[in-house]
């Protein structure tokens, strides 16, 4: 069996596992010795091909007088249809310190099609509850919500992001929402994700006809993995990214990480650096002649003169000496977290590293109280994922994550017939995605320190950048209206109900 996936467009969810239809197609192809093609219509894709599970959360939070958390209770009832094992409330274990936390996850099983992991699984819904809870506590205590987070949060990267956010003019000058038809509000929220890396990642690096070729079985899901590989090697060898040939998306290539859990960059960059070091040594050892002293592109010359040869690099361990005492985030979850981390490493060769990719977002909204529409006027996304493996693509990921999460916050939802379970939102009129005119200017701020213990210094961005958005939008609406959204998407009917003092919309 050989898997080819050279180009995957927009794989931001529901792609982590083989679906029943794909398995059936493989079996059919094997039985018939003929090609079998699986192609979902839009109707099928939007009804049975996976989705972010719905979840209902109950939150109780007891702040201490000094703005910390004494106790936090978060209970999640997840609806992924026939699928199980949702983790939403549990994610609140790994952010903010509290004297006591009670976090419980339930699956509510039913006959609807199965949900599946989707960009930061459980993260945005968890933050929607927790980050609004903290915002509410800060409002009631009369404390700056960002300053309160800084006090209860022991993560140094987020501490810097809080300072950055508190320094924004929009935050410093936020004032009364006004009394007229249009009300303005500013909200903030924080998020984190696990720093994951795949321990058995391999990267092959070859010189072929004087040209550098990178080969590994990773896939580009539209995030620019090809470019990350090419730019990483270009920096190492003093070449242009276009000089480097990248081969990926083929299961015959050396094993790479799956595109999930934001683990690709933190897995492949170190392996590529390892391969680069090995290749340099091999090329120099085999060379008959070194480049002339003072060459401004010595590796261009080394490679041009080199015989064809090939090396394979692996993913080395991180530097044990780091500010986190080499403790992975899971250590904060106590013995259960440690066991979970050990099992992940044993069974899936997946490691949870030290430090937490982090994000703090600030949004400014305008609410039209007559026509019940929210416009996001401006947005700021502060991200801590170490050094940027490719700056334009990191910005693209950060903005893209914000856009997708804004759709989650304001527009997107699967709608069902309550009696038959038919999915009704099976076209792009009824499944509402954001349009260009719904997008605010998005300012992205990168805090590049904090992951120096990772070879190359870069960790993944795709999920952490999506986590805080629905909560930040909700907090901004709370600031504008004085009432707190409790359901997403925050549609006109829900906004109207909210303004009338009910927590529930048309349904």
């Amino acid at each position: 069996m050989r898997v080819l996936a050279e180009h995957v467009g927009g794989g931001f969810g529901s792609k982590g596992a083989l679906g029943m239809e794909t398995i059936a197609a493989v079996e059919l192809a094997k039985a018939s010795c003929a090609p079998v093609r699986v192609a979902y219509s839009r109707h099928e894709e939007l009804s049975v091909a996976g989705y972010r599970p719905a979840v209902e959360l109950k939150l109780a939070l007891l702040p201490s007088r000094d703005g910390g958390i004494r106790a936090l209770s978060l209970t999640a009832y997840s609806d992924a249809g026939v699928a199980a094992n949702n983790t939403v409330a549990g994610l609140a274990r790994l952010i903010y310190t509290a004297q006591a936390k009670e976090l419980v996850d339930y699956d509510v099983l039913n006959d609807l099609p199965p949900g599946s992991p989707f960009r930061g699984p459980g993260g945005p819904p968890m933050a929607f509850a927790l980050e609004q809870g903290i915002d509410e506590a800060a409002q009631r205590l009369g404390i700056d919500p960002l300053a309160m987070r800084k006090r209860m949060d022991n993560n140094p990267a987020r501490a810097r992001l809080y300072d950055w956010a508190m320094g924004l003019d929009v935050w410093k000058t936020r004032g009364a929402p006004g009394e007229g038809r249009y009300r303005r509000g500013v909200g903030a929220a924080a998020g984190y994700w696990l720093y994951l890396w795949q321990a058995d990642t391999k990267a092959e690096l070859a010189v072929k006809d004087g040209r550098l070729v990178a080969r590994l079985a990773v896939q580009d899901i539209g995030t620019g993995t090809r470019t990350v590989i090419a730019e990483t090697l270009a920096r190492e060898f003093g070449l242009d990214a276009s000089d480097i040939e990248v081969q990926l998306g083929d299961s015959r290539l050396p094993l790479g990480p799956g595109s999930g859990g934001s683990r690709v960059t933190a897995s492949i960059v170190p392996a590529l650096l390892d391969a680069s070091n090995k290749l340099k040594a091999r090329v120099q050892a085999a060379a008959r002649q070194a480049p002339a002293p003072g060459s401004n592109a010595p590796w261009r010359e080394w490679l041009a003169a080199s015989l064809d040869l090939s090396v394979t690099g692996g993913r080395p361990e991180d530097d044990k000496r780091n500010i986190y005492g080499n403790a992975s985030l899971l250590h904060e979850a106590g013995i259960v977290g440690r066991i979970f981390g050990w099992m992940l490493r044993r069974s899936q060769k997946m490691s949870v590293g030290a430090g937490a990719p982090s994000s703090v977002q600030v949004v400014e909204v305008e609410v039209d109280t007559w026509l019940a529409r929210v416009r996001v006027l401006r947005a700021w996304s502060g991200i801590s994922v170490g050094k940027l493996a490719s700056a334009p693509l990191a910005r693209n990921q950060a903005a893209g994550a914000f856009i997708q999460s804004l759709g989650h916050a304001l527009y997107e939802a699967r709608e069902f017939d309550p009696r038959t379970g038919h999915v009704l939102s099976v076209n792009l009129d009824d499944y509402r995605v954001p349009g260009i005119a719904d997008m605010p200017p998005i300012e992205v701020h990168f805090d590049e320190s904090g992951f120096d213990h990772v070879p190359g210094g870069s960790v993944g961005i795709g999920e952490v950048a999506a986590v805080p958005t629905p909560a930040a939008v909700a907090n901004a609406i709370r600031d504008a209206l004085g009432v707190r959204p409790q359901e997403i998407p925050i549609r006109p009917d829900r906004l109207l109900a909210l303004m009338k003092g009910s927590a529930h919309g048309a349904r």
Partner: protein, 309 residues
């Protein structure tokens, strides 16, 4: 288990919607292409005043035509405010009037419903988030045509391949017909729209209440046309879409505004009157708030137009 409309022939004009329904399997009857000579595109002035607009005229042309913009500004605004630029370039006036509804039960080929010749309205007992708020027909889908609402505001008439001078309100009927959203016969094709002589000094506005900025079917939409004398509403038309089985003329709100000064008090009183007689489903009650918001918004808009000349 596909549930198509009864296999009746359907006319094809711009095909912006028909092609999608045929792809999904909801529409499976014969397709009748329209002879361009039978419904020629174009806008022409009538000797007795008024305009005749051929049914094959595109929505973009209706939006851009200078005579329409001058004399029937609510129609121009409505045409420019619907769908997307691509759709407006291809879709026709006749097709926009006779288009099928947007109900997600109707659009789903796996589900039977009244408007597909089936029995019962599954939305009525089901997910009625986008349903009517004036529940006056067995089917709870709002009428989809923005242009029909504007044409009702102007007392327009239709010429068809079978009749002449059919009042818009009569052509649309009461929304109770099975398998269509008009009261036209199944083999009746709209040939042209005839607009009566314009009302001098008319102010007009169109707006839809939607969750996003553009390109969304209206939750509620409103067409307003009015004239003023010394700051008082002298003539006013309010027609709402998205709330009833046919575009709904808001007679009560019109009566409240007529003869009253263009003041916030009048706008609010008209808004309150606009929802009289409504009988929403539990899920569609919010549309009444949106309707009131639109009435207030657009009456204020036309009053402001009048003030600033």
């Amino acid at each position: 288990m596909e549930h198509a409309s009864r296999d009746v022939p359907e006319f094809r004009a711009g095909a912006t919607d028909l092609s999608e329904r045929r792809r999904s399997g909801v529409s499976r009857g014969a397709v009748l292409d329209i002879d361009p000579a039978a419904a020629p595109a174009g806008v022409s002035a009538l000797a007795a005043g008024g305009l005749r607009i051929g049914a094959l005229t595109t929505v973009a042309t209706v939006a851009a035509d200078t005579a329409i913009a001058r004399d029937y500004p609510a129609l121009a605004a409505a045409a420019g405010g619907l769908a997307t630029p691509q759709i407006r370039r291809a879709a026709t006036l006749g097709g926009a009037i006779a288009q099928r509804n947007r109900c997600w039960y109707f659009r789903n080929p796996d589900i039977a419903c009244l408007k597909k010749g089936g029995e019962g309205c599954p939305a009525r007992e089901g997910n009625a988030l986008y349903a009517v708020a004036f529940d006056t027909a067995p089917c709870v889908a709002p009428h989809p045509s923005t242009l029909a609402a504007a044409l009702i505001a102007y007392d327009a008439r239709l010429d068809t391949n079978q009749r002449r001078n059919v009042p818009m309100v009569e052509a649309l009927g009461d929304g109770r017909a099975a398998s269509r959203e008009t009261a036209l016969a199944s083999d009746e094709m709209i040939a042209a729209v005839v607009l009566p002589p314009p009302t001098p000094g008319e102010r007009a506005a169109y707006k839809r209440a939607i969750g996003r900025a553009h390109s969304e079917w209206p939750l509620v939409e409103l067409v307003v046309a009015a004239t003023f004398e010394a700051g008082v509403f002298a003539w006013v038309r309010l027609v709402a879409g998205g709330v009833a089985p046919v575009p709904l003329r808001l007679h009560g709100a019109e009566a409240v505004a007529l003869g009253k000064p263009a003041s916030t008090e009048t706008f609010l009183a008209a808004a309150a009157a606009s929802v009289e007689g409504a009988n929403p489903l539990p899920q569609s009650r919010y549309k009444l708030d949106l309707l009131q918001g639109l009435v207030r918004d657009l009456l204020e808009t036309v009053a402001e137009q009048n003030r600033s000349g």
